[in-house]
Point group: C2
Chain length 566, copies 2
């Protein structure tokens, strides 16, 4: 009695199981927006579908007050004008409880099969979702398509396969038979029922609504929970499209579509979210956002399993390089991509004040700092090309932060506004690179300056750089750490610092892999071992506590005969 | 380079892996205190070893203030007179941090191998530990031996094998290679390091110090953590013996023995424990005890993963029976065993006020209640035999609770003091069985009355009984639920109630399996789905967050050629 949607996607699931076991490269979703893969008209259709959503009410057949909410503005300079049905949290909780009954009873294969079917449909909508990600987050289209589409779908599938990898280990039945010597054995038949926690709450962010929102959403669904998706008020559309697809699939599969609902809100929804997060029915919370809000959830939502990704200080330690230009190019790309508005973008770049060794001799601190600044300026020198990398600044807060940061130190590369050739009102800013000193500016090193802001920091030595990297990651959080060195002993010391800091390490990146990119099925995103995140995407711990097992036992006839007494 | 202790115990580990997959009967530790298994002189040697510990200072080579603590009194009527080295929490935390370095680096096979060797040695000490459990908890010897020895060891091994089942899935290395069309593939070598959380704190209880203490202790060790074991002041000895064995094994295996330390305390150690539980170095807490203390930990020790087992209300629903005498005998045994001082012992027994069906016709409520009371009185009728089942009352609090409970309703079987033939001062009390009414006494039904106290409760119907059972378990916690019915529809309704209450269900127990017993590798103890416990013994969720994974990645030469462009 395999569920038909499980059977339909079982091959993908098997490949995904193999991928998380070997952690080599694998993805079922094409990251190239290619007509051959997605269809000849997919791009035009997706853009048209996106445009058709503008300045209208988003259709979503779920419990609503009859009012509408929504005030998204594209970082590329125009209001989206989309209104979403307003929902009362009470009504969504009540609807989830009703939907839960049949959904819970359907069992693991149905949960996983439905989740995979939703993902397949979401993949087909990658262009529409890509444009919606672009015009809510400010990512340039290619990145919005890739990170918001196939890469987010990869992370979703990863969560589903980790869930299945745990669920499949729990037998639905067992025969237990305990020998009793010369007496008949004691025999019992046991039944094990996987029971979801209840209702999950997914709290989205405004920079990666799908990439960061999908893992919790799909982990909840694949373990039989119902889910209320509460997007960031600035990036509702990508998750609204996702919820609509999920509801379609649920309905077609014979379930109450209120297994997944959308809670769209207007800005300043903090009190509403806090009330909802403490409701006894909310048993799971997945959050991406500020340390303040994430820590509040961890410390107050005791009735729920809380998974958070918060702020951190990502760091690069430069000890020695073969080719400073290649290293600087790679670093500059990471600083520039989506204007540094990535939780994985580097901020603190440590360089010994006495300079570094290269294959062409020693290079002074100033020369290293200048090489990085120059590489950034080269990348953004041609505005028409630069905007395809930079995208736009998501919100005013980031823009103000650039202005505040400029006062901190000597400017190596200044942040300037660029005109976007296609979008007159786009908020485009080039990266700001400053010079700091580890001793004089110690207090500045431990804070996240989210956005296109980075510091080249003079240290006494690589040993000090690594010590800072390890301790700042451990105490203030970090998602990435990068090291450049030609010295094996330094690489090993960097490994130790990464373990102390509980942070993933990239070594000598000079090519087409960047520290702020992580590959699903291979790279863990976050570790759960430092304050930047209390969980990793994805591992067993991300899924194993989203469900419980309830058992029964009853006597049955033994299968074995009593032991003959000799 | 398999660790020798891993190799030594690998066969046991493989069998344990198979056991948790099928959840049939399995145990590597003999529950019979048989000379054939444990040695001809094992019992006498164990008793002599226990007696040699009395009225002396317990030898333990670990950081100490030089003072001693300890004031255990046997529930069988004599002070143990054992003094333990007093330790300052600061000193134990510092020692754990030093010990952590090599222990962490040793890796999963060493952690698991050492854990299994400790368990093998603990098993050989089962008699000494059995006597120490008897004279701290008040369990009669056979139960102290079984539950405190092999059954506790089973639960420990279960935790170790669940840890290994997760650890073995994480590859230590991976080759990642992403095709780039006509360009050479991107290739990276990745290294994955399992990193323990840090230091665990195991907070023992006074009724099952080993059975409830071992899972957390061994789950921590098997995932590379250091552990501070803080026994209940009333039951230090069993865990002190265990810690001493663990330290011996660690030392012999070349590790700093401060990987495991003992924090023995005098009574009223609450403030000391609260301070310690909030220390930033304490990353894991395993607690068994009161709801008040467990909830305090869950709500305050935010720096730690907190696993708790707290109070609950265990329930029996009687709908219909074939043979009332067999059912009553089974229930009476569960009420009497260790004087009901088990977290799994039943308390609320629901019987419809209009009576029940049996194979011999309808039986009125009073007759059912009387059958249970009579069965209890029969079991304790002969004091010499009764004490081997009842054991002794662990502490005065339980004794006072019996007196308080007597006022609640009509007495069906009164609790009386019995003389113990071997121990003149033993605190022996027979079970108190009272009659209550679900409507009139509703407020009494939701509280745990820990000890030999149970209620036969008149309900309007089996439907009401099941509704009470499900809702009380969900809201007030429960570890066990039992149902008696000859009606399949009622059994299915009981399944639904057990799922609603998140509690394990036993069906029609009339033989030699009792509701308060659970079998490692087959029965989950607790579900983590109701307030009685936030975790189950054992499952993936019990271990998966006790460690994290830190990775590195570096470019390497690709293995595949670029794709030919045709």
């Amino acid at each position: 009695m395999t569920h038909p949607l499980f059977a339909k996607h079982e091959d993908t699931l098997q490949k995904a199981l193999s991928a998380i076991e070997t952690r080599g490269y694998w993805s079922p979703f094409s990251e190239m927006p290619s007509p051959k893969v997605y269809g000849e008209t997919a791009s035009a259709d997706g853009e048209a579908a996106f445009k058709a959503l503008l300045n209208s009410t988003f259709e979503l057949d779920q419990p609503s007050t009859g009012e509408t909410v929504g005030s998204e503005v594209s970082p590329f300079g125009f209001p989206l004008g989309i209104r979403y049905p307003k929902a009362a949290p009470d009504a969504l909780i009540a609807a989830a409880a009703v939907a839960q009954r049949d959904w819970r009873a359907a069992g693991p294969q149905a949960w996983v099969g439905v989740s995979l079917e939703i993902l397949a449909r979401v993949n087909r909508a990658s262009f529409e979702i890509g444009y919606s990600v672009m015009h809510t987050t400010g990512q340039a289209f290619m990145m919005a398509f890739q990170a918001g589409g196939p890469h987010a779908q990869d992370r979703a599938l990863e969560a589903v396969v980790y869930a299945w990898d745990q669920l499949r280990r729990i037998p639905s039945e067992a025969h237990w038979e305990k020998p009793q010597g010369k007496n008949p054995p004691l025999a019992m038949q046991k039944r094990f029922t996987v029971v979801p926690r209840g209702t999950g709450l997914v709290l989205g962010c405004c920079t990666f609504p799908t990439w960061n929102g999908y893992p919790g959403l799909f982990a909840d669904l694949a373990t039989g929970n119902t889910v209320i998706v509460k997007p960031h008020p600035g990036a509702i559309l990508p998750l609204a499209l996702t919820v609509r697809i999920a509801r379609d699939v649920l309905r077609e599969a014979g379930f109450d579509s209120n297994v997944v609902t959308l809670l769209a809100t207007d800005p300043n929804d903090g009190p509403l979210v806090q009330d909802l997060a403490l409701r006894p029915e909310i048993k799971l919370i997945d959050f991406t956002g500020s340390t303040q809000n994430g820590t509040w959830l961890e410390r107050n939502a005791h009735q729920a399993q809380v998974f958070t990704e918060k702020a951190g200080v990502n760091q690069i330690v430069i000890d020695s390089v073969d080719d400073i230009k290649a290293a600087a190019r790679n670093i500059a790309f990471s600083l520039t991509l989506y204007s540094g508005q990535m939780c994985t973008a580097p901020q603190n770049i440590y360089v010994p004040r006495h300079g570094i060794r290269t294959s062409e001799g020693t290079l002074g601190f100033d020369a290293v700092a200048q090489a990085i600044a120059t590489a950034v300026q080269k990348l953004v020198g041609d505005p028409a090309r630069a905007v395809e990398l930079l995208g736009a600044i998501q919100n005013d807060g980031v823009e103000h932060r650039i202005a505040d940061a400029r006062k901190l130190g000597t400017v190596l590369a200044d942040s300037v506004a660029l005109d976007h050739p296609a979008f007159a009102g786009a908020r485009v800013r080039t990266p700001l690179v400053l010079q700091l000193d580890a001793t004089q500016d110690a207090a500045q090193l431990t804070k996240e300056w989210f956005g296109p802001i980075s510091f080249v920091i003079a240290t006494d030595s690589t040993a000090q750089s690594l010590d800072l990297a390890g301790s700042i990651a451990a105490e203030h959080g970090a998602l990435t750490l990068s090291v450049y060195s030609a010295d094996d002993a330094v690489i090993e010391a960097a490994h130790e610092a990464s373990i102390r800091g509980g942070v993933a390490l990239s070594i000598n990146l000079t090519g087409a892999v960047f520290v702020n990119q992580s590959a699903a099925f291979s790279d863990y995103h976050g570790t759960g071992a430092n304050p930047a995140a209390n969980a990793a995407l994805a591992d067993a711990a991300f899924v194993a506590n989203r469900f419980r097992v309830v058992q029964s036992r009853v006597h049955v006839e033994p299968k074995a005969a009593p032991v003959a007494v000799g």
